[in-house]
Symmetry: C2
């Protein structure tokens, strides 16, 4: 630390993203990237960028991209806000609507929420999930505090229904409800249709998972224009141009390629089903996932042990050394070859341990 740091910075405990090693034999299933490459239409849009576009500032309002998102979601452009990944969108909404306020979230959810809470001086109430990791909606409703929920939740993959979210949103119209749909497109019911009816609902999305564009850093928020205007004010007081010109055209092409989205999401869901069936047969408890990852726990092998054995076989998954979830592993859904490799290696690990018992 340094004598120049403000106190809040000294207190920060930054979010630690999953590691990003790269070597050819690695099966990387730790950061929930899409199993498939992004659509060709994205590559074509990038190839069409000329040097003069790089020279000029990008459109600070990302007008074309916002219009494409609005069109795809049946909303108006003034109900859309875009940012540098949904992490930036969430950071801005935290500052705009939650800074200095008490906020509810779950005790088992995306690890960045407590970090933003510290950064922006929010007192975070971490409401425990049920023993089966499901959301205790009544506990959330018992408080007037704003709520931040990932749906489907991470790292569990569990989703709640639109009806359940609506019951929370309409229970108190003065309670802001943020639904983080970073993992939309893989089976969970989106709550975006509710944006028309409620001004206390804010939905965030990312193209990192749904559209295989983690490398491009594009996320967005959908909400009532007054909430969007709050986000815009923060953004325009922070960095006028958070999305470079290439990210804007790449994201626009991806959003417009609805056929790719349907097909690619379908393949992820099919591979997820194959993983769930095979791992269940090997003695794993697998939560019913609506995301492009699964959350699993073996009946007798420890999470740490399986993590290490997979790592030794060049398969990287994610595990948190935390009380409730230390024996669970979060495994991203890979492509067909990766799925096969994961399942073969896991079968070996399990049979080796059975032989040693």
């Amino acid at each position: 630390m340094s004598r120049f740091w403000v106190d809040r910075v000294t207190a920060l405990q930054p979010y630690v993203p999953g590691e990003q090693p790269q070597f050819p034999s690695l099966v990387k299933l730790n950061t929930n990237e899409h199993a498939l490459p992004p659509p060709d239409s994205v590559m074509q849009a990038i190839a069409a960028i000329g040097a003069d576009q790089l020279r000029r500032y990008p459109d600070p309002a990302a007008t074309t991209l916002c219009a494409a998102i609005a069109h795809a979601e049946g909303l108006n452009p003034d109900q859309v806000f875009v940012g540098n990944g949904s992490d930036e969108v969430l950071a801005h909404l935290w500052l705009a609507f939650l800074a200095g306020r008490a906020v509810q979230t779950l005790d088992t959810t995306y690890g960045f929420y407590p970090v933003w809470a510290t950064l922006y001086g929010s007192d975070l109430h971490e409401v425990p999930v049920n023993p089966d990791f499901s959301v205790d909606l009544n506990a959330l409703k018992a408080s007037v505090l704003p709520v931040v929920l990932a749906n489907p939740n991470a790292p569990t993959g569990l989703a709640i229904s639109r009806e359940e979210v609506e019951s929370l949103v309409k229970d108190n119209r003065d309670r802001l409800v943020v639904i983080d749909e970073a993992y939309f497109g893989f089976g969970a019911e989106s709550v975006v249709p509710l944006v028309h009816d409620y001004d206390n609902l804010l939905v965030t999305r990312s193209l990192s998972k749904s559209h295989a564009l983690a490398g491009m850093r594009v996320g967005y928020a959908l909400a009532h224009p007054e909430l969007i205007e709050g986000l815009r004010r923060v953004k325009e007081s922070f960095n006028s141009y958070p999305l470079d010109c290439i990210a804007q055209v790449a994201a626009t092409a991806a959003i417009e390629d609805q056929e790719w989205f349907r097909e690619a999401s379908g393949r992820v869901v099919a591979n997820r089903q194959a993983m769930i069936s095979a791992l269940s047969a090997l003695g794993f408890e697998v939560l019913p996932s609506a995301a492009n990852f699964i959350f699993v726990k073996h009946s007798h092998l420890q999470g740490e042990q399986i993590f290490a054995a997979l790592r030794a076989a060049d398969i990287l998954v994610r595990r948190w050394d935390k009380p409730r979830i230390g024996d669970w592993l979060r495994i991203s859904v890979g492509d067909e070859a990766q799925t096969e490799r994961l399942l073969n290696v896991t079968e070996e690990i399990v049979s080796r341990s059975s032989a040693n018992r």
Copy 2:
């Protein structure tokens, strides 16, 4: 506004960037983009990006880019921090080192400083520049408060020497001095060599102007590792991956192409000199610029009048409707054809007005 906005957001008055209209006949000299396209090496680096890189998260630490910057500047990578444009870097340093504190800057400088001050609750002391727009260093030294200076300054283009900055930095080693070198490369003396000797100096840079990459959004900070670590903590508590994979390779290629940088900077300086000579001959007062723009005022024509006449001829420059600078225009240095067009149209405007007197 909305009942969900926190008070600080209601109070924000966002920065308004220069307008970005685009039509073929427009001579756009209002946002200080580089006169020339970026180097071919950048286009080649972008063309080499594969779909699988877009699918994966980018390197959160931008290791290769930081190493390239460190190498180019004769620093260690732990003295380098990169962000989504120098605006994001400045926003993060404001939160890390200036939030909630009183801060000194100039009354005539980059218009985003007061916006960050409001966003992060800093009381901003705007020290008046001298009547000739030069910096009153003694006034800054008279206070113990941290200082944020653009050098060369915007919108004046005036630079102070490394020796002058050093006198401020060493005058009080507990005073943080931020030097915003967004316009480096066009003639001002950089203070980067001082980073080795002072832990209370932080230099920010942008590739938007110097490397013709405004469209890619890459900026950086150079400072003592303890200051860099403060920036990293804020960034990692805000958005793990602010630079997409393409921005990282494009910026790395640009930084490494030192020959392009020398030649392109030289052409900008030559065009600037041509503008200064011709406009001086037409009765303009022109401040001695060390940037890729000039700040000019006509001996008898009003700033508003010239701005409108240029605009009518499809030439866009920048003007602020503010007390001290309302009669001044900031004109970006264009390429040779744009310079010729600007000078021809300005000559017409001036002779028309002389004929009408």
